[in-house]
Every structure is written in structure tokens, then in C-alpha cells.
């Protein structure tokens, strides 16, 4: 039986798995019901963990935690995900510095890689059933602009799901692989990939089976969900009463869903009616109004495009065709803007939902050793360098360098008699080290004590075809060496992955203390979020300054308790906060109820705003 490596598109909203058949065709693998897409949704409830369609059905079940868009949290620290967390309706807590979703029924916290793993495992099972053979190797796609930590976290997700991830490739590149293969055309292609959460742009030269990535750029915070939010904000601005109802997360969810529906409808007709009877909300949305709302996003995508073109040393006119990928490229305003920018035909005939997975399957096939006619020459998306004196970044490998890549540079000491040299490895485009991402630090010791500026320390960066970076420092006179293979500063180490593998699907042990802590932290986070929202909303007319001060202080004590491991303490502090905010909650509840009752009035005021 042939070894099969599958290609997986692990998307923000949907995921898919594809493989290359014996006859050379690439095929997306359906589930038992014949569906190709799997919603990237995980539902946690007392009676079990659900993934995909059945998880999505639970969205309004108050007993269930429904996790979606977890990709936005992937490979980032708790602190880095602040703005994401605000727009998510499920609880996300700080678990050893990483964001995590509490799963009280199973007594654990789920980190983004573990959530990703649940989705991946579902796809793996689907593929195994379909192919009637074990599937243990995969190529997984990520947005081009994912940094090292985000890529590593995606790999961890694969490992937890029992998949050996042979390669992480960029989504737009995958799309081009599928497209280029399908069309058989050579030339320079621009790939414009606008999905639910991320925007990616790539420039690819396709020549006789060689796919050379010339440049990539993108924005990990730009996608269809931003447009939905922009619509909701506009509605809220126009309807102050709706705004106060929208303090409740279910209301926000409802509005967002309605906004998305309206947005999608606008790609078919010039105007849509929007009505949410439950909120007494009725309005209409026109294309031109919608276009005005997304115009800032259009500008942002085009400035990424310009950056990539200039990195690739090309002008828009050099591009032979533009490939559109991702659900949000169905948005007419974007099609129009891209067509105007390049003045070239747009290729959107390939199903934008499927191409990324199909391309991943092509690369999977190459890496299974079966295909020598195709080759993908990929680049590193971000610059890599080290910190030099004064906290300045010295770049060794600039972004968009084709990999594998090697670079060497000589450095020297700053202080007379200096025997240790600190090598601080950085990723990013900023001048100052502190503004870039720290990938690793290590020390080269045993440098001969010489006057400053005399030792010759050669630093070598080697990136392999997987994008893994190895940094070596060598003192040339003595030959003393030191090196590090970059483990990102965020992410799981090998042992973590192993133990997670063991744990993942066996029952978590009944540990009362952990359980208490999980419950308490979940509760605490919910109360904190609600309080934070309430404080933002109310003025000193409802809440005297002294009370506000007291609440703030109690929030601080609670946060401190949450950093510890004592569940009881967290619970007590939460209760204390609850008591302090009780009167406030009542006052707000009254206000929100009276707003809800005056829903009819609201719909009149909120008339059409074209």
C-alpha cells in the first residue's frame, strides 16, 4: 500500500483535507455525509466534546462552550491576544502565559494547539475512513504572515493529533500550486488571499513546474470578520439603544451573524433588508454604504500588495494574472480594487474554498518522494538577525529570502577582556531589537580575553527547507563554538507534546484541586470581563467614583489571585468582586430591560441609512 501524505487547510472558519490520487488528480476528502468543509469549531459540554458541524449547532446552548476562530490565538501569548479575546464570546484565560479555554467537564485547559488538534484529528479520521488506511503524515497550511511561534504552534497541533507535519506551507502559495497545476500556464502570478481572519499576498513565478515564491506579505488581523464588526459598529453608532443591548454577548453574536449575512447577500444584490425582530431592529444596507465601511481595509490590503511588489522588484504591470483566494474575495469591492490596481485578468474560477487544501496536497505529494517534476521554492516571511550593541537589530537573512538559506557574518566584542558573548536571535522588520520578536538567546563563552574589537566571532544562520533556523556562533582563533536550534519562545517543548499526546484522549485524572482552580478561573474571567464592560459603559451618574475605585481594587486582587494556583483564593476574591458589583448589575439590568421593552421605538429611529 502506498504511503499517503495528506494536505490540510486549517482555516479560521473552515478546515479541509485533500490528497493526491494515484491518477495524479487532487481530491478533497468528504466526510460521511459528503460534506467537504469542516467548521473549525469545537464544542465543550458535560456530555462530550464535539467538532465541526455538530459543534457549530451548539452555538446558542448556554451549557456549552463553543470555541471558534481559535486560529487567531494560535502561537501567541495571553498578553498578545488581548484584542482577539475581546471579540470572542467564549472564556479565554491565562494558562502559564498562554491563552487557554477552560474545559471544566474534563478538568483541563485547552490551549490553541490542543483545540487545533481536535479539528485535525477529525480530519485525520475522515481521511483514514475514506482511504481505508492509516494517515500519519501531513502538510498543513498557515497564513503567510504567521511568525515562527505561530508555525510551531500549528506543528504542535499536528503532533498532538498524531500527525507528523512534514511541512508548514503558506496558504497563498498552496493556492498557487493548485492553480498553477490546474492551468498549466507559466508566468508571474499575484495571489490575493482574503479569508475570515487574515489577509495574505504572494508573488509567485511559475515556470515549467517550478513555483518560485518571489515575495509575500500580509496582515494577520484583516479579514471578513473585521468587515462584519465594522457593520455592527455602524449599526450601534446609529442606534444608541441597540448599543446598550449589545453589551450582552448573545446580542453581539446575533448582530454579527446578521451583519455577515447582509454582507454576503450584497455580493449578489445592491441592497439588503436587515431585520432582527427579537431586538426590534430593522434597517437596510446598501452596497455603497458597505463599500464605504470597508474602504480602510481595501487600502490596507493594497499597501501590503505594494510592499510585496517592491520586495520582489516588480511593478503591477509585470504580473501576468491575479489569483483570488478566500471567501472574502467574493466581496465585489475587493475584486474591483484588485482589478484596477493590476489592470490584469482576475482568476477566480477555482473554488476559493478548496484551493488551499488542494495545493497542500500537491506539496504533500512532492514530500512523499513521488514527484520530481514539481518543486516549490519558498521564502522566509520575516527577517532574521541578532541584537548588536545599543539594542540594534543586525539582519542576517532578510525577509523574502528563498529557503534553504545560509548567512554568515563576523562580529566582535565591545568590552576589553570580554569572554562571553550574548547572542540574541530576533525575527522582524524593526530597527530596534526590543520591537522585534525574540526567538532565542544563548551565550558563547570561552572567547579569549582580548582588547575590545579584536576577537572574530562568526555567526551562522542556517534555515532548512522546513524553515527551521539553526544559529551557530564560533570564535575563530580558538574554534570555540556554541549553537542553538530555534525553539520559539512560545510553544510547547518536545516533552509537553509527548505528554499531551498521552493525555489527549485518555481521561484526565480526577484532581480536586485542579478542578477547583479551573472552575474558579473560568468563573473569575467571566466576572472580570462583565465588570470591565460594565465599567466602560457607565458614567459617574450611575457609579460614584469611590465605588468605581473599590471595584478596580478588587479586580486587581482577583487578577493577582488568578496568577497563583490556589482555587479557593480565586473563588473568594471572585465572590468579593461579585458583592461589590451587585448593586451596579441591578442598575444596569433595569436599564437594559427598559431598553429591550422600548424595542419598537428603536426600530423606528433606526430606519434606513443608505
Amino acid at each position: 500500500m502506498n504511503r499517503i501524505v495528506v494536505g490540510i487547510d486549517l482555516g479560521t472558519t473552515h478546515s479541509l483535507v485533500a490528497y493526491r490520487r494515484e491518477d495524479g488528480q487532487v481530491e478533497v476528502i468528504p466526510d460521511r455525509e459528503g460534506r467537504l468543509l469542516l467548521p473549525s469549531v469545537v464544542a465543550l459540554s458535560k456530555d462530550g466534546v464535539r467538532v465541526g458541524w455538530s459543534a457549530r449547532e451548539r452555538i446558542n446552548d448556554p451549557e456549552t462552550t463553543v470555541i471558534y476562530a481559535a486560529k487567531r490565538l494560535m502561537g501567541r501569548s495571553f498578553a498578545e491576544t488581548e484584542s482577539e479575546r475581546r471579540s470572542l464570546t467564549y472564556p479565554v484565560v491565562d494558562h502559564k502565559g498562554s491563552p487557554a479555554v477552560p474545559d471544566p467537564s474534563r478538568n483541563r485547559f485547552l490551549t490553541p494547539p490542543e483545540i487545533g488538534a481536535l479539528v485535525l484529528r477529525d480530519l485525520k479520521t475522515r481521511a483514514e475512513e475514506f482511504l481505508s488506511q492509516e494517515v500519519s503524515e501531513a502538510v498543513i497550511t498557515v497564513p503567510a504572515y504567521f511568525n515562527d511561534a505561530q508555525r510551531q504552534a500549528t506543528k504542535d497541533a499536528g503532533a498532538i493529533a498524531g500527525l507528523k507535519v512534514l511541512r508548514i506551507i503558506n496558504e497563498p502559495t498552496a493556492a498557487a500550486l493548485a492553480y498553477g497545476l490546474g492551468s498549466g500556464k507559466d508566468g508571474l502570478f499575484a495571489i490575493f488571499d482574503l479569508g475570515g481572519g487574515t489577509f495574505d499576498f504572494s508573488l509567485l513565478d511559475i515556470r515549467k513546474g517550478i513555483f518560485e515564491v518571489r515575495a509575500t506579505s500580509g496582515d494577520t488581523h484583516l479579514g471578513g470578520e473585521d468587515f462584519d464588526r465594522a457593520i455592527v459598529s455602524a449599526w450601534l453608532e446609529e442606534n444608541p439603544k441597540l448599543a446598550s443591548l449589545a453589551e450582552r454577548s448573545e446580542v453581539r453574536d446575533l448582530l454579527r451573524k446578521e451583519a455577515e449575512r447582509a454582507k454576503i447577500a450584497l455580493s449578489l444584490k445592491p441592497e439588503v433588508e436587515v431585520a432582527i425582530p427579537a431586538l426590534g431592529f430593522r434597517t437596510s444596507l446598501t452596497r455603497s454604504r458597505m463599500n464605504a465601511l470597508v474602504e480602510p481595509f481595501v487600502d490596507r490590503t493594497l499597501s501590503c500588495v505594494r510592499a510585496a511588489l517592491s520586495d520582489g522588484g516588480t511593478a503591477p504591470a509585470d504580473v501576468d494574472g491575479v489569483i483570488l483566494v478566500g471567501g472574502s474575495t467574493r466581496f465585489l469591492r475587493f475584486k474591483e480594487a484588485v482589478a484596477a490596481f493590476f489592470g490584469k485578468p482576475l482568476f477566480d474560477s477555482v473554488d476559493p474554498d478548496l484551493v488551499v487544501a488542494e495545493g497542500a496536497a500537491v506539496q504533500a505529494d512532492i514530500l512523499s518522494g513521488r514527484r520530481k517534476d514539481l518543486l516549490l521554492l519558498d521564502v522566509t516571511p520575516l527577517s532574521l538577525g541578532i541584537e548588536t550593541i545599543g539594542g540594534v537589530t543586525s539582519t542576517l537573512i532578510p525577509r523574502n529570502t528563498t529557503i534553504p538559506a545560509q548567512a554568515k557574518e563576523l562580529f566582535t566584542t565591545y568590552v576589553d577582556g570580554q569572554t562571553n558573548v550574548d547572542i540574541h536571535v530576533l525575527q522582524g522588520e524593526r530597527e530596534m531589537a526590543k520591537d522585534n520578536r525574540s526567538l532565542a538567546r544563548f551565550t558563547l563563552s570561552g572567547v579569549p580575553p582580548l582588547p575590545a574589537g579584536t576577537p572574530r566571532i562568526e555567526v551562522t544562520f542556517q534555515i532548512d527547507a522546513n524553515g527551521i533556523l539553526e544559529v551557530t556562533a564560533r570564535e575563530q582563533t580558538t574554534g570555540t563554538m556554541s549553537n542553538v536550534v530555534i525553539q520559539p519562545s512560545y510553544g510547547l517543548d518536545k516533552d509537553d507534546v509527548r505528554s499531551l499526546l498521552k493525555e489527549a484522549f485518555s481521561h484526565a485524572q480526577e484532581d480536586f484541586a485542579t478542578r477547583l482552580l479551573v472552575d474558579a478561573k473560568t468563573e473569575a474571567q467571566t466576572v472580570l470581563n462583565a465588570t470591565e464592560r460594565a465599567l466602560e459603559k457607565v458614567g459617574s451618574d450611575i457609579l460614584p467614583d469611590a465605588d468605581r475605585e473599590a471595584i478596580r481594587n478588587q479586580m486587581k486582587s482577583l487578577r493577582t489571585a488568578m496568577e497563583g494556583t490556589d482555587g479557593r483564593k480565586v473563588r473568594d476574591e471572585t465572590q468579593a468582586l461579585d458583592r461589590l458589583t451587585q448593586p451596579l448589575a441591578e442598575r444596569l439590568m433595569n436599564q437594559s430591560l427598559s431598553n429591550a421593552l422600548s424595542g419598537m421605538a428603536l426600530s423606528k429611529e433606526g430606519g434606513s441609512h443608505a
Binding site: I366, L375, T388, A407, K408, L410, T413, D422, A465
Partner: protein
Amino acid sequence: MSDTGTAEKNRSQAKLLHPDNREHSHSVCWNCEKNVGDEDVCPSCVRVQPFGPERDYYSILGLPVRLALDPRLLVAAYHEKSRTFHPDHHVEDSEKEQSITLGNASLVNLAFRTLRDPFLRAHYFIGHVKGKPARPNRKAVLSSTALMEIMDLKEERDSLLSSQGPAAAEQRLRTVIDPIERDIFHSFEEIDALIESADKEGDTLSKALDILSERLEKRSYLQNLLKEVKEAS
């Protein structure tokens, strides 16, 4: 803590661009020990061969040592070498072969990156022909007149920038950069002709290379002025 400091970039040393840690000299196959000459792949046992330390970027890509290169030939050569050496085409090979392909493919990429850009290529070429390791080196000497000219231009640029905006400043800089780039390309032809004639040792070549060096240097100063305009806008 006083003896631990951040590495400082070594300004006094020329930076090595060519890797020098090849384990094998490139005439006998590391695997079957038969003669391989300059072949990328051993004709007897079909194993890829590591590039020896004597291999320059031109020979790595199998191209003649010239300043003017046909971009299509360059890309074709690059793709051919990538097919031979890219690690993705060697996933099932031994560890030893994988490490050779990693090193070779990295060098193929570096060679292509350097030779693709005409100005980087010219820097590399000069170092190669003069037998010195090359690298774009900002500190290369410019005559004081040339420096004065640049200073004046910088002032002019700044006043244009504030009075008429970036487009005007860019346009003004272009009127100086464009002729220099034309001169540089003209040097390419001249020097290639000298290389092709047997007159390699001659004084003429060495002088032509010096002139090219200075033009490249001047251009890189001017490019910086231009870059600042772009960054400002």
C-alpha cells in the same frame, strides 16, 4: 556581568560571504571515490556532490563569469540547480546526502540572490576578479569631490522635500541616479569585452574595475537618499 556584552558587528573586518566549511574537495566522489571532476552528481553512483570551497557563485550556477547576464538564462540555470539540489527532492535520501543538499541548495539560493541583482552582482564580480572576498562595503573610498556633490544634492533634496514634496525630490534624485546607472551598465559591456579578450592581466581592466567600483559606491549613496524620500512619504 561586565564581561558579557552584546555582540558588536565587526566593522574593521571584511565580511566573509563565501562559505568555507566544505568538507570535501570536489574531485573525488565522497561515496564511491571515483573521479567526479566538477559534476554536481557523481556519474558513477549518482550521489550529489558538495560544492568545494573553490566554487564561486558563477560556477555554482554553471554560468560564465560576466557582468551582463541574460536574466532568462540566469533563472533557467537557477531552476535547473534547484531541481538537482533542493532538499525536497531528496526526502528519502540518506542523512549525509540531505546535509549536502541543504548546504548546496543554500548556496544556490545565495548565488542566485546575488547575481540576480545587477548591482550586487557587480560588487561580487569585482571582488571575484580581483581575488578578494566581496561584499557591498559602504566604507569604500569616494573622492572628496564626489562626496561634496552628494552632500549638496542632499541639501537640495531636503529643500525640495519641504517646498514641493516627495515627488519633486524623487524626480531630482532620478536625474542624477539614472545616468549613473546607465554608466554602470556601460561599464558592464566594456569590462566583459576585456574579459573575453585575452587581456586579463592588463592595467585597463584594473582601471575599469576601479571606475565601476566608484560608480557603484556613488549609486549606493544616492539610493540611500532616495530611500529616505520614500520612507518619508
